[in-house]
Assembly symmetry: C2
Homo-oligomer: 148 residues x 2
């Protein structure tokens, strides 16, 4: 059963087949962990964008790199059957409209790649704009797929 769920997840989300038996609660906690880590790094960047902390190229570049890397990781944790099994704000729409969900994932990953590149380049105005685009991509997905 779990193997079937995992296999179906791959077809649905076009991720590599995760062949192991992933229990729903493990998958839910995994995706939450990744998203929490992404949020932490976004907060570091946001503090600079808002002027709450002085701009620091090295910190910005590292946080943006981590955000980009993390943005690829949570999706395998949203396989079918993982709509429950642990407390989650994931809405059933994720599994009802996987194409839209996938499209918003792609939007996020495209935005984080731009942010990582501009933060590395040190162009502050550019990376602040790219940061906003990533934040928008987060919000767009949450609006449709995360319960309040």
């Amino acid at each position: 059963m779990a193997a079937t769920v995992a296999a179906t997840a791959c077809l649905t989300f076009a991720h590599p087949a995760v062949a192991q038996d992933v229990k729903p609660d493990r998958a839910i906690k995994y995706r939450q962990s990744v998203l929490r880590a992404m949020d932490y790094n976004m907060d570091i960047l946001e503090a600079m964008v808002k002027g709450e902390t002085p701009p620091n190229k090295e910190v910005a570049a590292q946080s943006a790199l981590f955000v980009e890397q993390l943005s690829h990781m949570p999706w395998s944790g949203f396989g079918p059957g993982t709509d429950q099994g642990a407390p989650t704000k994931a809405r059933p729409e994720i599994w009802k409209d996987p194409e839209k969900f996938k499209s918003l994932q792609n939007d996020l990953m495209a935005a984080t790649a731009k942010l990582a590149a501009s933060a590395k380049s040190g162009d502050v105005a550019q990376w602040k704009g790219d940061f906003s685009a990533v934040a928008d991509a987060c919000r767009n997905c949450h609006r449709s797929f995360r319960a309040r």
Copy 2:
């Protein structure tokens, strides 16, 4: 105070200065999230190593890449002052012997880089050996610095 803590953390752990005010509970939950996500991907690899799931080059390469990327992320969450503030198994020795802690971090990051490379190459015998080295690096650090 928090800014001082963050600045000291950088000197101690040689990470980029995280200039924002990171509250200890946030830092603790961040590092736990990253380590949990690393553990999840290690479990995917371990299931293949143990023969519980069939070897899959694409899955192995992706999981190993995620492990490598994640292995760079938790350390900024261990700044001074983050020995308490949320439930944690981090032992006080982390802040008493930062050089040893840093050395074990470096061992882990060196091991995960090898694993990511061999898993990408598809040399199954090689990556299974490199997986064991990463697992050893995890255990070495836990033995000294994580409470049971």
